[in-house]
Symmetry: C2
Subunit: 101 residues, 2 copies
DNA sequence: TTGATATTACGATTTTCTTGGTAATATATT
DNA sequence: AATATATTACCAAGAAAATCGTAATATCAA
């Protein structure tokens, strides 16, 4: 993944609502949560929530799957791992390696 | 650090210019680089660069120290480590722990 | 089909970000 | 002081993001 793609994901997570949404989903486990539950938990109005969810989907951080009336949001952990891996490899000078060598 | 603080840092890194700036600084080592060098390397106009640098400073991701005419930008690794640690602890379900137990 | 529930689309407003030119400031050199 | 270099301050315009009310759609249950 290139720097622009990473920046995009970081930007998505760089909003309090969206970071809370993602965090909440992750905490809920691999099955994720319905939009409605997120909405109630985090107390964000319908239409705002929709925008935030949509941009998280757009960035590949969550996926949605319909179950009848309910639309379940499922966190895409891999996407976050990619970002963490990038930050660690591209934006960290390992203290140990430079202290030891 | 709380979720809003983390979101703020993520947002700062969530811009291609700023992510490149930070990455470039990290790659350059613990001493950082002068604004002018960053500017030339990344080909960003003076005034835009100033804005981006200022917001990186504001978020604690870099510090600046004057050396005569030159203003050196020094990356604050710890700040990034905090974010990575947060993401790992709050936004990751460890695959191993759930696969193994 | 009626009524309830879950979610999104539309639309409009406000706020925040981004950009970059030009002028100003600070430092060094002579 | 005059000149060159490095960086920021100021300002204004345009672009993008955030907000959220209301209307619409989709699904289910009876």
């Amino acid at each position: 993944m290139d720097v622009d793609e990473i920046a995009k994901i970081l930007k998505e997570l760089g909003h309090p609502h969206r970071l809370r949404i993602f965090k909440r989903l992750v905490k809920s486990g691999f099955d994720g949560l319905p939009v409605g539950v997120l909405r109630e938990d985090l107390d964000i109005p319908h239409s705002s929530m929709t925008h935030h969810i949509a941009s998280l989907v757009e960035a590949g951080l969550i996926k949605q799957q319909r179950e009848g009336r309910i639309l379940r949001c499922v966190p895409q952990y891999g996407r976050l791992w990619d970002v963490i891996a990038y930050l660690q490899s591209e934006c960290c000078l390992d203290e140990r390696s430079s202290a030891a060598g």
